[in-house]
Structures are given as C-alpha cells and as structure tokens.
C-alpha cells in the first residue's frame, strides 16, 4: 500500500506541475468561446465556430480593431452542460478572456450563467431560450430569436389561417422542451387549443406511433419543435400517414439540410426563421439585405451552404467588435456597457436595439415566416 501511495505522489505531482497560463498582452482582445462543435448539436456549433474563426482571421489580417488584435480561445462542449461549465471556468480563470461567445445550446448557456455573473465577464449566448435574457442579468446577452418569439410567430400565422386546434409534437432536448412550454403557455392568448401533446426521443428512428395518435384527434395543424434528424423523420412520417394538415416547424430546422433530408415531404412546411436563408428574396429596400448577402457570400465561398446559426455568431462577434471600437479598450466592464448600448446594429438576425431591460434587442418583425416550395425557401407574405 505504501508503494502504491508513492507512485501516486509522483504521478500527481507530474500532473499538477504542468503549467498552463500565459498573460495576454495589453493591446489584444481575448475572446473565448465554448460551442457544441461535435455531438448532437454540432449543426449549431460547427457553423458558429467557422464563422468566428473566419472573421477573426479577417479582422486580424486587416490590423485588428483599430489596432487591437483579437486572440481567440475555443473549446468544444459537445453540448454537455458539465463540459460547458468546466470550459467557462477555464476561460475565466485560466485563459482570462475579456469576453465570451457561446454556448450553442440553451442548456449549455443556462448552466454557466451564475458562473459568468460571478466572474464578471460579458457573455453573448448563441442559444434560443428566453430564460437566458428573462430576467435580465447584468453580464449576459444573446443574439438568436427566442423560442417564445418563434411560438408567437407560428401562432400568428396559424390564427390568420383561421385554425384553432393544434397538435404539438416535440423531442426530449432542451430546445424542444422549452419550445413546447412556450407553445403551451401562449396558446390561450391566441385562442388556440392544444389537442395533442406528443413527445419522442431525439435519437428515435420512427415517430409514426405518435403521429398516428395525432391523426386520431381533430387537430387542424401540427407544430413540431426540434432540431437534428428527428424533425425530418417526423415530417416524413406525417406525410407517410397521409396527413394533409399544415405542418409548422421551428427555426431549429432553418437549414438546407432539413429540406435535403425530408425531401418531398417538406413541401408546404412553414417555419419562422431569420432573414438569412431568404436573403436573395428580400426586397432591395430591406436594410438587412446587404449584410445578409455579404455574410452569405463570405461563408459560402469558404465552407458551403450557410445556416442561420452561423449568423448568430456573426452578430455576436460584431457586437463585441463595435463595443471594443467605441471604447477603444479591452476592459470587461466597458465592453459590457458597449454591448448593452448597441442600437441600430444591422445583423443577420435583425436590427438589434439593446437596453438595460432588453439583452436581446430584437422585435418579432425580425423573424420571417417562410414556406418550403419546390425544395427551396419562399417568403410567406
């Protein structure tokens, strides 16, 4: 036993003596990120990381933000809350970053909010949940539209079609569950009755059972909140069972991948999404059009089809850049103030107007209702 202990000492000492800290020079801005680059939410984290890296390289190549270079530290959370927590700890304590961008999922963000508040580092989240900015926390901002906005946008559209009975089908992930909660909470306000509330596991391979249950109700429309492959399977299952009801998806599937996977079954599906996926279709008078087309071009010339998720990272990064530019410093508190004072910033998600009581700064009009026709997005007027 004694020998065992000795070996342990040596090994532990070896481990603990590994140094791992270096100080940032004064004229660099240290941005940290923790994104779900692999794992179940990789379709969020992957374009987000690519966007950040591409623009940071670009900014540095052009001499930085008014001479301030950006130093970028990144960790992959694999969408695990525990990892997110560890990495944010690492970003704050070990890497000592000036500002944090991330996480990709609501769960990852919610997990670190207390930590970030205590560490007094500005954080811009790329996740959907309304819980991130309500109630407002001093150091925490976000760029994507909330799940509540998505639910409202869908209900507005449903109501305009004269539909009052709706079936809900959602997965077991954080995004799905909080979207479902928003739908249930908002339905009465729009005079809509939820007649079915079905669930599935996000790694399930067949949802015909749940869809068959919906078919047996008197629902007039179906809403599916989710992301990844499950919504595509649900879409196919609905058509397979010969259900002709209008199907609404969430902004979680606002990428070409969904259309590719669901194929013909996706025809006629409506969903609320940021302007990015329909950039070409917007009128030239739209103030966002120029920004959207430029980002789309930048991204697609390097990586392939653009998704709205990378756009959220674009918005977050340039909000930080603007804040740094306006104070000419890398001070955490001043960057925070700068982000909070963002006004009239035209991003990919919409036009942001932040305030001490609104750490998102987007209105419902920044969401567009799109419909899939002939394998492509179209704007619903």
């Amino acid at each position: 036993m004694l020998r065992a202990g000795k070996i342990l000492i040596v090994l532990c000492a070896m481990v603990l003596l590994c140094p791992g800290r270096w100080a940032a020079a004064a004229d660099t801005l240290k941005i940290g990120s923790f994104l779900a680059v692999t794992g179940p939410a990789s379709f969020l984290g992957d374009p987000e990381l690519k966007t950040l890296q591409m623009y940071i390289d670009k900014i540095n190549a052009q001499g930085g933000i008014d001479g301030i270079k950006i130093d970028f530290v990144h960790y992959d959370t694999k969408a695990k809350a525990k990892e997110a927590k560890n990495f944010v700890n690492r970003l704050i304590k070990k890497d000592r970053v000036d500002v944090i961008i991330g996480g990709s999922t609501s769960g990852n963000t919610i997990a670190v909010m207390d930590l970030v508040e205590r560490g007094r580092v500005p954080l811009i989240s790329l996740a959907g949940s309304v819980k991130i900015v309500e109630p407002v926390r001093k150091w925490i901002f976000k760029t994507p539209h909330t799940d509540r906005m998505a639910a409202e946008k869908i209900f507005q559209d449903i109501k305009s079609r004269g539909i009052t009975k709706v079936a809900l089908i959602t997965g077991n992930g954080g995004f799905d569950k909080s979207g479902r909660a928003q739908c249930l909470a908002l339905a009465p306000k729009y005079g809509i009755e939820i007649v079915a509330d079905e669930k599935y596991g996000n790694s399930d391979t067949d949802m015909t059972t749940q869809v068959a249950k919906i078919r047996a109700t008197d629902a007039q429309a179906i809403i599916n909140f989710g992301f990844g492959k499950a919504p595509a399977i649900v879409t196919k299952n609905i058509r397979q069972l010969g259900i002709k009801l209008p199907l609404y998806q969430s902004h979680g599937v606002a990428s070409k991948k969904y259309i590719e996977l669901a194929g013909e079954a996706a025809e006629g599906v409506r969903l609320p999404a940021a302007g990015l996926i329909v950039a070409d279709l917007l009128p030239d008078s739209d103030p966002q059009k120029r920004v959207l087309l430029r980002y789309k071009h930048d991204y697609e010339s390097k990586f392939g089809p653009v998704s709205t998720f990378g756009g959220h990272a674009y918005d977050a990064l340039f909000m930080v850049v603007n804040a740094v530019r306006s104070c000419g410093c890398t001070d955490r508190a001043k960057i925070r103030d700068g982000i909070e004072n963002t006004s009239g910033f035209v991003g990919t998600g919409g036009i942001f107007n932040m305030s001490p009581t609104d750490h998102l700064g987007l209105g419902l009009d920044s969401f567009r209702m799109v419909e899939i026709k002939n394998g492509n997005w179209t704007l619903v007027k």
Binding site: F43, T205, T208, T209, A212, K229, I233, L261
Partner: protein, 291 residues
C-alpha cells in the same frame, strides 16, 4: 382503435427488426467468444455511412451497398484481429471496456472521415405509402422486415447446416475441445466477427432510408441491440430476434397507449420485470454455476 393498434404494431416491427439484427450480431459474437461487443452499433453506422458516401461518389446503388457491407466486414475482422484477439484471456469486464474503447475509436474515425452531418440514403423503390385499413407503411418498411427475415434465416442455416457454422458453435461450447478436434479456433472467431459486422451493415443499409444516420447514430442502436439480446436470453440467436421485435413493439405500444415521453422507460421496466422473474431472459436457460 384497432386501426391505431395496427399502426403501432407496424411501427414497432419496423423498429424492432433493426434491434433484432443488432441483437443477433451481439449473440453471434457472444457465442463464439464470450465477448459482449459494445461496438456492434458502430457496424450499423459504418455500413450506412459507407453506403451513403460510395453512392454519393457516383457508384451504382446496388454496388455501393455491396461495397459498404464489404467495408464493414473488414472493420469487423480488424476489430477481432487487433483488439479482441490480443486480449484473449482478459476478464469479462476488461473485454467490455475494450469493446467500448473500440466503439469510441470507430466513432472518432467516422467523425474524421465523414464529418458530423446527418445523411440519408434514397429508398430502394419509390416512397409511395401502402395502406392496410387506415394504417400505412412505406415500401422501405417492408424491405426492412423482409431483409431481416432473410438475414435471420441465412444465419440460422449457416449455423445449423454448414460445417463452418457448426465449427463456430463448437468453439462456443468448448474452445479447447474444438481445437482438439482440429478446428482452427482463431479463424472461427474471425468469421464470427465478420458475420456479425455483416449483419450490422445490412441493418444500417436497410433502415437508413427511413431513419437517416450520422457518425454517432450507432450508440443508441447498440444499446437497444444489447437489450434485445438480453431480453431474449444471451446466447440464444432466435431469442435475440424475438427480443428485438418484442422491444420494438413494447416501445411503440408504450408510446401509443401510455406515454410517448416515457416510452423508453416503459421498455426498460418491462425488461427488468422479465429479468426478475426469468433471470436468464425469455428463451434462455438459467445457468447453474460451476463450483
């Protein structure tokens, strides 16, 4: 209500067919080498992913499928040769960790080769739903069921009627005795892994047109396949098939009749219930321990 039930059962059988094939793969390897191969689900993923990429590269569909099966079999053989064979005398838990390590390794390799996107495979024939009463199913569902049935019958034939199959069975009964009567035990183990990988690839190819796949899709299928094998009684190949179908149907009925949110929990409650009353699975014998 009857129409509903019919739909639930059709869904259950489709999903259950895949569990059955994966469970059968578990059983074959377990019988031949006493190893529970937790990388079994990865065979499914590799089969499907290879097919998708070969087809995407312009190779004719049937040929792409055949090549994908071949690739998966090679992976299975390599798994046996480089991971399982060197650890021949390891304990049960050790081999479990080795196969878990292998499954992580294969997932990591898939991530590097194919990226993290989700992919689909075109259905074998056009997706026109077929109605039975008010229940519907896709032609691909029928291919899944037929494919599973054929695969199970072939495996049955292989182990009951061919010399090689019988030799593998002999290894599973008593390895030393088998080698004494002139069976090349190592070769037989290799064949068992090949057959098992082949079944995984077939399952992946059959089901991907319906379910899509990605580099991490193997984990859940492996787990469900293990459940199928245990439910039927470890080591009993027909038990694994029955276990797989039963598991699919329980999940589907649980989701349809009780609660879709708790359907997996319901399935596990049933499995626990079965084990408490039949500690050797449905078709297994309760072993008597050697003292």
């Amino acid at each position: 209500m009857f129409d509903q039930l019919l739909q639930f059962i059709i869904s259950g059988i489709t999903v259950g067919s895949v569990y059955a094939l994966v469970g059968l793969g578990f059983t074959i390897i377990y019988n031949a080498s006493d190893v529970v191969n937790f990388a079994q689900g990865e065979f499914v993923m590799i089969g499907a992913m290879s097919a998708i990429f070969l087809y995407g590269a312009g190779i004719p569909y049937p040929l792409a499928l055949a090549a994908a099966v071949a690739i998966t079999v090679v992976v299975g053989l390599m798994l046996e040769k480089f991971a399982v064979e060197p650890a021949k005398n390891a304990s049960v838990v050790t081999t479990i960790i080795i196969t878990i390590g292998a499954s992580i390794f294969l997932r990591g390799a898939a991530l590097l080769v194919w990226g993290k996107d989700i992919y689909g495979l075109p259905p074998f024939t056009k997706d026109v739903p077929i109605s039975i009463g008010s229940a519907t199913l896709l032609p691909q569902n029928i291919y899944v069921m037929l494919g599973t049935a054929v695969a199970v019958l072939l495996v049955r034939y292989f182990f009951d009627r061919t010399m090689t199959g019988k030799a593998i069975m002999a290894c599973s009964c008593n390895r030393r005795a088998a080698s004494l009567v002139g069976i090349n035990v190592n070769r037989m183990l290799l064949i068992a892994y090949g057959v098992s990988a082949l079944l995984g690839a077939v399952a992946g190819i059959l089901v991907t047109p319906i379910t899509y796949t990605s580099y991490d899709a193997g984990v859940m299928l492996g787990l469900k396949g293990f459940c199928a094998a245990i439910l039927g009684g470890m080591g009993n190949s027909m038990g694994a098939v029955a276990g797989g179908l039963l598991l699919g149907i329980i999940e589907s009925l649980g989701a349809g009749i009780i609660s879709s949110g708790y359907k997996d929990a319901i399935a596990f409650v049933v499995i626990l219930g079965v084990l408490f009353f039949r500690p050797g699975g449905l078709l297994g014998r309760a072993d008597s321990e050697r003292v």
